[in-house]
């Protein structure tokens, strides 16, 4: 008995370990892909390549069917095109770039499964006869007209597991579902390659299938609106720097100088975030989740400025002031021009009407609410639902619900179901 009492604590000690979860992206350097003979993929071929593909090999990673979609980001005058593959299994996605080498299309990608920490390389090709000829032609694509072949690897290993996709059909027609990425793309716990609520995550969002982003707005001690989810600085959101406590205790200069998000980025200001959305991405919706409790005047001024900037660039970006509670609603109604300020209200439909909100956004746990959704549609408003992550419920809401947008931590999953709809 005595020896057991001695041994038990040491057994407990041995088991008292905490696994640190990581999913570092592998190095995607590929000599062939970056060789001097390669050329960019033209946007026409990109558009024709988009579609729903059957998975002939690699279904254990991505499921039986995937969606191939291109997106772009703009930095200054430079546009970068990215190809993404959205999956219905393992909350998996692939992201990368494409280039021609002579008449072969190369896709240099990485994959991640957000259901776990899986990651690895994926190198794919479309040969001239296997699909490039069809992409360059004017004929409608038929089943099997494009074959994407190659391999994927696990972690940093070179790809050695066969991966083959066969074109099946175009993306769902008239797909106007707004895919909203929570915290600009996803939570830190999902180990994405950028921190939640960062400029880098905003730039990543289109590659994750998002057509809009939700961001959390707080004020620093000197009144600068910044994008940050939690009330306090903490280990979940920032790298250790000896600072903690309410973010409102610190000035913007202090946060900007000392604090770095979990992947090394700065805490962005609201202005920087909206500038990134308007100038660098094709995102069409911004849901500013207002976490501050005072006057919304400064938010309204910034909103007005960036709506104007988007319009002057010929873009229709819906920048919405999110109203999550009665306090924010009251502060919003105190704005002199609140009726003209685009907003999103999470409260009752009567509150939505009082704020003249463009969007009503109830919590998903309240159910499909088809009658209420029809009511707001009848008033000329949209209805978004938050925060929908469970694959079964995603399918239910998309099949039986009438929401115009879905906010999710897994925009790749929403995008898959949106584009793969029959």
């Amino acid at each position: 008995m005595r020896s057991a009492l001695h041994i038990a604590p040491f057994l407990l000690l041995l088991t008292a370990c905490q696994k640190e979860y990581e999913a570092p992206l592998p190095n995607t350097s590929w000599d062939l892909f970056s060789s001097t003979g390669t050329t960019p993929v033209d946007t026409r071929a990109q558009g024709r390549m988009e579609g729903v593909y059957a998975v002939a090999q690699g279904a254990d990673l991505v499921g039986d069917e995937v969606v191939v979609k291109w997106s772009s980001t703009q930095v200054g005058m430079d546009t970068t095109y990215h190809v993404s593959i959205f999956c219905g299994t393992n909350i998996a996605y692939l992201s990368g770039e494409g280039r021609y080498l002579d008449s072969t299309l190369l896709l240099n990608m990485y994959w991640r499964t957000l259901a776990n920490t899986g990651t690895g390389l994926c190198r794919l090709t479309i040969t001239y006869g296997g699909g490039v000829r069809a992409l360059w032609s004017n004929e409608p694509l038929g089943a099997d007209s494009v074959r994407i072949t190659g391999a994927y690897g696990i972690d940093a290993d070179l790809p050695d597991r066969p991966f083959t996709l066969h074109y099946r059909r175009p993306l769902a027609q008239a797909n106007d579902l707004v895919v909203l990425a929570h915290r600009c793309g996803g939570r830190n716990s999902d180990l994405l390659p950028a921190s939640e609520n960062s400029l880098e995550m905003i730039r990543l969002a289109p590659r994750l299938g998002a057509t809009g982003v939700e961001m959390d707005v707080r004020l620093t001690s000197d009144g600068v609106p910044v994008i940050y989810h939690d009330e306090t600085l903490n280990d979940r959101t920032i790298r250790p720097c000896g600072l903690f406590g309410p973010i409102g205790n610190y000035s913007y200069a202090q946060l900007n100088g000392l604090v770095r998000l979990i992947n090394g980025e700065r805490i962005p200001t609201l202005r920087e975030a909206l500038a990134a959305v308007v100038n660098e991405t094709p995102l069409a919706y911004v849901w500013m989740d207002i976490k501050l409790t005072g006057s919304l005047e400064v938010i309204r001024n910034i909103q007005r400025e960036y709506i104007t900037q988007a319009q002057s660039s010929g873009r229709d970006v819906h920048i919405l002031i999110g109203l999550p509670a009665q306090e924010q609603l009251s502060n919003f109604l105190a704005l002199p021009d609140h009726a003209n300020a685009p907003s999103l209200c999470e409260l009752e439909i009567s509150d939505v009407q009082a704020a003249n909100s463009e969007v009503w956004a109830p919590r998903w746990t309240l159910g499909l609410q088809n009658a209420e959704v029809a009511q707001v549609h009848g008033q000329g408003r949209k209805a978004f639902v938050w925060t929908l992550d469970q694959p079964d419920y995603v399918q239910e809401f998309m099949q039986a619900g009438n929401f115009d947008g879905i906010l999710s931590n897994y925009p790749t999953l929403i995008a898959y179901h949106a584009y793969a709809r029959p």
Partner: protein, 203 residues
């Protein structure tokens, strides 16, 4: 897998309690006679060290200090059996660092005030084990482009080994190796302290 000391509260308690169980196995049948009780105060200070890497911004040039003076005070109730209980507080630096650039310079200091319920058990006449559980008030002081101060509470525990040298029936001195762990905020301090041990009252 990484061993994290602050995740080891349960095993440490299990070790402590298992030792206690063995220590309290009676050599003789229970007596209904009550022994002597006492209140003992420990007060003193020493040096503390922050053994883990200090959390500093890696994008700046910084100079960190992980060694500093600390103090503690503890009041223990010594009953007529071996398990004793009391309360401990004090003050200990965690770490500090200066920001030497590029750009503005400044300083960050972190200190902790433990507020712990403490149990102890003598191993011999002069050696005792201490184990505490409670909260730490952690304060961060920033002097960089203005000043800011934030505090938070963190659940945590402590463990210590002490050697007491009696000077008289009422007074002694002890040397103590102490381990503070603020579990929630992941701060650990190792301290070496000397205390004046004063038997305040006995009955």
């Amino acid at each position: 897998m990484r061993m994290l000391g602050h995740r080891c509260v349960l095993p440490l308690w299990a070790m402590f309690l298992s030792a206690n169980i063995q220590a309290q196995v009676p050599d003789k049948p229970d007596s209904t006679q009550m022994g002597r009780y006492a209140l003992v105060l420990y007060a003193g200070g020493g040096l503390s060290s922050y053994p883990a890497p200090a959390g500093v911004p890696t994008h700046l040039v910084t100079h960190s200090t992980t060694l500093g003076p600390s103090g503690s005070v503890r009041l223990m109730w010594l009953p007529d059996h071996r398990l004793r209980v009391g309360f401990e507080s004090g003050w200990t630096p965690l770490y500090s660092y200066t920001i030497d650039g590029p750009g503005p310079t400044g300083k960050v200091e972190l200190v902790a005030v433990p507020l712990l319920l403490v149990w102890s058990m003598p191993l011999t006449d002069r050696f005792s084990l201490f184990a505490g559980y409670g909260t730490y008030r952690i304060t961060s002081k920033l002097d960089y482009l203005g000043t800011a101060r934030s505090s938070t509470h963190s659940l945590g525990y402590s463990a210590a080994v002490s050697y007491v040298y009696p000077i008289s029936e009422w007074v002694g001195v002890d040397m103590e190796v102490k381990w503070y762990n603020a579990t929630e905020t992941r701060h650990t301090v190792l301290a070496l302290q000397a205390h004046l041990v004063w038997k305040l009252h006995h009955w």
